[in-house]
Amino acid sequence: MDYVLHLAALISLYGILALSLDLMLGLGGMMNLATAAYIGFGSYTYALATTRFMAPPLVAAAISIIATSAIACALSILLTKCSRETFVLATISIQMIFYSAVYNLEATNGSNGISGIPPLAIGSITTMSPVSFTSLCAFCLCLMFGLRHKLASSPFSLGLRALRDDDVAAANLLIRSNRVQPAVTALAAGAGSMVGILIAASSGYIDPTSFVLSESLFVLSCVALGGFESGAGAVVGTLILVILPDCLSLLSVDSNAIFHVRQCLSGILLLSVLRFRPAGLLGSTRGLE
């Protein structure tokens, strides 16, 4: 039972990330590979605020979400003029800078990580018990799904899509890339930091190795597998990519091997989708054109 709950929580968390990346990539055409940095930044801000500055967990969570969104927004203003390839490279750089910084800073305790992070509690729902943690994650997933759905059918998303399809025409319609794109980046980063907070609050311990580029690539695979511009697609892609390798983990015990197998599998699935069904399982290819 605990295993099923754990799996459900994992799917919910990655689902949130996939949905937020779909907002950026599917609607906005921005291939962001700094997802893990957002999660990490959220986790670390929460952990530092609660353990160093003794902030109440809820306040720390709010600070963490706001800080992550603000920084992502600021960085994304710098990136609005980049071509798509440059955007990919720049976000990979952000990811690597973040990893290297938390790995080396004394404040983040380097590779030892931070332990003793207090759990998050809202009334009787706490991140400590598996049942309420999983339901909290599932609730956040539903929230994110609803938000994505609402946003995808709003005038805001029309601007985002216009920028994706033709930035000159969009500029002609007075859609400003330096407003629309940072806004959606801030939203995605906020969602990422929420996931980070949930992870930190439930396990009580974080270290830099959870926030590596492979995680960002994994989320990207989830979105691409499910299909761009589709909320259901992002969730289905996550479902497949989380469950499939986890079945393998029942056979073997070496967690490191499982990590590699999971990455390999997501890569191979992604390649076969690109090759044989470029729209993904449930989506459209327009995000990439």
Binding site: S93, I97, S221, G267, L270, L274
Partner: protein, 287 residues
């Protein structure tokens, strides 16, 4: 201090080789071949695997370069070409390339483990030239990179094959119409570029050792250098990579290694932003 600079230049020369291979492949195929860094790493692992089977070192060396070339051609023929012939947008091909990178790096991790692979046993012989201390491997790095660069320039400038490669890079449709076998040129370029990466990988493995993720900074740098300098002239991306390689060594020396990566990526990020904010006309942006 001078020694550090020389060591840095040696490392830079090696990175420049990888960048040259990348720029060649990009020029001909128009693919951001992100997995190039993984081929760099696999070159070293192929070498290691062949040594395990008691192959003589020279044979293993050539064999692993050949295997890497086959791997590169396989990726191109199996993934990039079908994607492009279907008319997939460049970003999709880039996504494919990232996926290949993931698969290759993680298969290396599965097969050989995540620890650093050092191909050489014991410490290396040191030479001193006045105040400069240099190991045998670093000399090999420097000399072989220079030699290969000269060979590359000659091939590009004075042979028929070089002319064909440049023609295809310049205008593929026109080259095809003129009777150049473009798919053969493409095959040669990808094989040669991958071979260069593998060569660099083996040397890096012999010198400082590498782990499966070692290809990432080199890949990133090669892609960025090509975005900066274009792929018309191999010398420009090579120079950029060389300078950055040397810078990386210098930063490593001055900050005792801990901050080298962070600074390296910050420089890269800054440079990319600066490039993106320059006026469109003069950038020669590749997209």
């Amino acid at each position: 201090m001078l020694s550090i600079l020389v060591v840095g230049i040696c490392k830079g020369a090696l990175w420049a080789l990888v960048a040259a291979g990348f720029a060649m492949i990009f020029g001909t195929t128009r693919v951001f071949h992100f997995a190039h860094g993984a081929i760099f790493v696999w070159g070293a692992y192929f070498f290691d695997a062949l040594l395990i089977f008691k192959t003589p070192a020279a044979v293993a060396f050539l064999g692993s370069i050949l295997l890497a070339a086959i791997l590169g051609v396989g990726i191109d023929a199996g993934i990039y070409r079908p994607l492009q012939s279907r008319g997939a947008p460049p970003t999709t091909v880039l996504l494919g390339s990232l996926a290949i990178y993931t698969v290759l790096v993680n298969t290396a991790g599965l097969a050989f483990g995540d620890r650093t692979l050092v191909l050489r046993a014991g410490t290396d012989q040191m030479y001193s030239l006045g105040p400069i201390l240099i190991t045998r491997m670093q000399t090999v790095e420097c000399v072989s990179s220079l030699a290969l660069f000269v060979v590359l320039s000659i091939v590009f400038r004075y042979t028929n094959m070089g002319l064909d490669i440049r023609a295809v890079a310049d205008n593929q449709a026109l080259a095809e119409w003129r009777g150049i076998n473009t798919s053969f040129v493409r095959l040669v370029v990808v094989a040669f570029g991958s071979g260069l990466a593998a060569f660099a990988g083996i040397i890096a493995g012999l010198d400082t050792g590498l782990d499966p993720t070692a290809g990432l900074p080199i890949s990133l740098l090669a892609v960025s250098a090509t975005i900066f300098a274009g792929s018309d002239r191999l010398a420009a991306p090579m120079m950029i990579s060389g300078v950055m390689g040397a810078t990386h060594s210098l930063i490593t020396w001055f900050t005792s290694g801990t901050w080298a990566d962070a600074l390296f990526y910050t420089i890269l990020f800054g440079a990319l932003i600066w490039r993106a904010h320059k006026p469109r006309e003069s950038t020669g942006e590749v997209s």
